[in-house]
Symmetry: C2
Subunit: 199 residues, 2 copies
């Protein structure tokens, strides 16, 4: 038993399974934490426990929250007429960090996938259509990933909303801010050229 | 508040400060854990708490353990005549994973450093010298990093033991297994050439 105790080995194995980590980085993190076992490590254990117990999905939009309705859905200062549809909570967080959108969200929790047998019901798309009617939504922004699955899902939702009066939009595609043309893939360059605008 | 709740934000900030991680990887890890909040996340909180409470330094060698004397120091199957001196516990773990050494260890917990005012007493070097006398040690292997600080510390310990009868050795320096000469630094190539051996 090289690593101190059974619990330490179990801890390293558990941390090594987190996304982006492996045995080497897990050992480094565990040793760092053991060195700070009276401060950072105890604090981390307590926070993990309280977040694990308090976290749930917002009943309206699917965002992660510690109450029934999340802070965004219950914020009276945000516009009711716009819903931004995202694949998962990480995308919602990314949009919020941009501070560019002040409407409501809807988290699908995945994309349509015939292979994985994920259909519209699994993603709460009927619930989204109900929300659009009941909340008087004027615009649905499909902020889905520019992948095949993301775009398939976007097309499905756009088709389902075709008969309604709501405006369906998607994120602009083009050159990222600070991006160098030389390093961009051909698809992005063609899309940016097709969507060129007058200056 | 983009990330769900104050506790979630505090958790992300705490995880982002761990070695090798940052805000982006911390957010990814926290979302992954919240998705598994009834299994992996609760288990991680419990293990962190129990390791934080149980871990301490072995009174003999300084290894991390959950008892007074670590499993290596109290293992009767290991040789008493050899002490391997390492800079910190990560190095001890690395040597144990190699399964090549079956003696005892001594963890310095750092290297001598005039700049940081770390002297021999801070590293427990007097304690090491006492151990060498009381445990009838015949060989001290200085498995210290091949850095300036590591080698300064190695020289200091070798000098301090010069008057005793103990044999002081260091790890061989040369080409790592699987290493390609083309990618090695000049210092390593020169050292490997100077220490060449007949085949």
């Amino acid at each position: 038993m090289a690593e101190g105790s059974d619990d330490i080995q179990a801890l390293i194995a558990l941390i090594a399974r987190l996304p982006g980590l492996g045995p080497r980085s897990a050992r480094r993190i565990v040793l760092h934490l053991i060195r700070k076992r009276n401060g950072q490590m105890t604090q981390l254990a307590q926070l993990l426990d309280s977040v694990a117990n308090a976290s749930r999905e917002c009943l309206t939009c699917g965002n992660i929250t510690d109450r029934d309705i999340c802070a965004i859905c219950s914020d009276p200062a945000r516009a009711n007429g716009e819903i931004c549809v995202v694949q998962d909570v990480a995308d919602l967080w990314a949009l919020e960090r941009g501070h560019a959108f002040r409407g409501r969200y809807h988290v699908l929790g995945g994309t349509l996938s015939a292979l994985d047998e994920i259909g519209p019901e699994d993603l709460g798309i009927p619930g989204l259509i109900d929300r659009i009617a009941s909340e008087g939504v004027r615009e649905v922004i499909l902020a889905l990933n520019a992948t095949v699955d993301g775009q398939t899902t976007a097309h499905y939702i756009a088709d389902a909303l075709e008969s309604s009066e709501v405006v369906v939009t998607g994120l602009a595609q083009g050159v990222p801010i600070g991006g160098e043309l030389d390093y961009l893939d051909d698809g992005t360059i063609s899309a940016a050229l097709r969507a060129r605008r007058s200056l």
